[in-house]
């Protein structure tokens, strides 16, 4: 009964604290919306089609048409066609209007047809033993397609794009060769009706993410930002909790409660349970933002995996870790200002280290090693595991154990500090 009434009191105090409610619920919602929208382009550039490409087509024939069609089909580029000079094209790329510029020269298709035709003729001539014609038909000149890259392009990305375009061009070349061969064969065997030579790839590269338990979810900005900022908000609860403890100490309530038989521990337990419940409400609310609100704004929908009990366990563990930290800050800090400053700076540091702001997979190696000391990183890795890798309890257990260990250490430290102060 004492515990229930203590929880009821904390609930009443919380719902009447408008500033606290804003920090607890509105701030993380806004953070998730803003950061997800901002980072969406960055995540998309890694995952999806968004490379702006300029085509300067001076050919207007089969080569340029096939190249354009293939680039569109690759779903890697946003294509714009313009008629510009070489200098103008270079300028547009240099000023960052496009990532890549492709100039297809005049008569490129015609040249390609002539060259392939000559090569096929040379090949067939070699069968008839006409060595003179082979020597005469030797041609080492090349058909040049000019590529311009934005100077800020990373080398690895430039190589990837070049390879993609080169592959498309190779296919066009191959198609042209086959066409020429077909024409020559028709000339040699006018009465035959040969089937067309297939040039579709024989060797296929089968690619997929090495995900766990058959999960095929690809990380995106929503998948990162929703759990990341939810954890940030859950840990930020340490400030209102610490403030609550300090206020009780300053206004004599703690003194009164300590003089009651066995009540203060119940009051502290009531606080902890209330704030863990608040952190779970925060968590559920943020999941709803990811599942329902973000798709309305054109963002991908948050996929919460299919292991809800484990997800709930991680959320409780993170809530306990955050509450334990708040309790420790509230016990050690001597004023509300001190708790707010120390609590917020510490949480921001743990968030930065733990990969909340910038995901750990883009961090340098040194930071990746440091990241593992942050409780926010443990929580984030656990959520990644559930959302992206479809982990179960066994795989999540190390992260859960770390979060619960952190909670126990905070609680133990607060108790020992309080005891030390009383025995002073």
């Amino acid at each position: 009964m004492k515990l229930l009434y203590s929880i009821y009191k904390e609930y009443k105090v919380l719902i009447r604290d408008r500033a606290g409610l804003i920090i607890t619920f509105i701030m993380p919602t806004i953070l998730i919306l803003i950061i997800t929208l901002i980072q969406d382009t960055t995540f998309r550039s890694v995952n999806e089609a968004s490379v702006p490409l300029l085509i300067v087509d001076r050919d207007h024939d089969s080569l340029s048409q096939t190249l354009e069609k293939s680039l569109i089909n690759s779903k890697f580029f946003v294509i714009t066609k313009k008629q510009l000079s070489d200098e103008e094209t270079k300028k547009q790329i240099a000023t960052g209007q496009f990532f890549i510029g492709i100039i297809i020269p005049e008569n490129a298709s015609k040249q390609l047809r002539e060259k392939t035709s000559a090569r096929i003729a040379k090949l067939l001539g070699s069968f008839s033993g006409d060595s003179t014609s082979i020597k005469e038909q030797r041609d080492t000149t090349k058909l040049n397609i000019q590529l311009y890259f934005d100077p800020i392009t990373k080398k690895s990305f430039k190589t990837t794009i070049s390879n993609s375009i080169e592959r498309i061009v190779s296919q066009i070349e191959m198609q042209s060769m086959v066409n020429s061969l077909n024409d020559k064969m028709k000339e040699s065997f006018p009465l035959a009706t040969p089937s067309k030579l297939e040039i579709t790839p024989i060797v296929n590269l089968k690619e997929e993410y090495a995900s766990y338990n058959n999960s095929t979810i690809i990380p995106n900005s929503v998948q990162h930002n929703v759990p990341a900022w939810t954890l940030f908000a859950m840990f930020f609860i340490c400030i209102p909790l610490a403030g609550n403890i300090i206020r009780e100490r300053d206004d004599g309530s703690a003194f009164r409660l300590l003089t009651m038989p066995g009540s203060y521990m119940i009051v502290i337990l009531g606080k902890m349970l209330t704030y863990v419940a608040v952190s779970l409400i925060q968590f559920s609310l943020m999941l709803c933002v990811g599942v329902f609100l973000l798709p309305m704004l054109g963002m991908p929908q948050l996929n919460i995996g299919n292991n809800l009990p484990v997800l709930f366990l991680v959320a409780i563990s993170a809530g306990l870790a955050a509450t334990g930290f708040g309790l420790l800050v509230g016990t050690i800090a001597t004023s509300h200002d001190q708790a707010s400053l120390f609590g917020s700076v510490f949480i921001i540091m743990l968030a930065a280290i733990g990969g909340i702001w910038v995901p750990t997979f883009v961090m340098p190696d040194v930071m990746k090693k440091i990241a593992v000391i942050s409780p926010l990183n443990w929580g984030l890795e656990a959520f990644y595991g559930i959302f992206i890798r479809n982990f179960g309890f066994k795989e999540i257990f190390p992260q859960v154990a770390k979060l619960l260990g952190f909670f126990a250490i905070c609680l133990g430290s607060a108790y020992l500090y309080q005891k030390y102060k009383r025995l002073r």
Binding site: F255, T259, R422, R424
Partner: protein
Amino acid sequence: MSILVNIQHVSKKYKDASRVAVNDLSLTINKGDVFGLLGPNGAGKTTFISMLCGLFPTSSGEIYINGQTHKTHSKECKQVIGVVPQEIALYPKLTAWENLMFLGHMYGLSGGSLKEKIKENLRILGLEENMHQKIVSYSGGMKRRVNLIAGLLHNPQLLILDEPTVGVDVQSKQAIIEHLKDLNKKNGMTILYTSHHLEEAEDFCSHIAIIDDGKLITQGETNQLIIDNNCKSIEEVYLKITGEKFRDK
């Protein structure tokens, strides 16, 4: 008269402090006494009350409440005590009713008897009409009265009051003191009272102890102290014993 509180050679020295906060203090409080504990700022009153309430241990000596100590019978000792701190130890965003219901539950009370007890006290102290208003909207005097009720809910044998009338108007002060006198007279409630209002202490307390620099300087029945020190009032006794120098440096 039977002894409720027996203090025997109690001393307290904080680890980092250069001086002793309470120095070999011995006194007794009988059941039914209204005991005034007076002394300048920094005399050791708060430290003494904290030890009496079991908030921290003594460095030496023993405190007996109803013959039991906090060391062995903490729960029983705490059940005897009701505390009214100097600060308004209430939740400003809760109503008076909500505050008192919470504190009543923390004392292990519940149900209709608790509600009745709260209503009765609110009525006596003139707060019945305002009981569903938030504490933040109360005047200083109203807050003090709710603060007092919070310490009375479990009918303590010993009520510890730390400056219960500081910063309140004459009407509120009158209501508080009259209610306390009533509780002492009708219920035999023992009261330990600290204040800097010496006139009020003289009027209210049956016994007075003056402490300074952690030591007990004098104690006795209020009237007897005035006579023994050849003074006209407790204020004169106080100034005669403690001197006129400022203490809070």
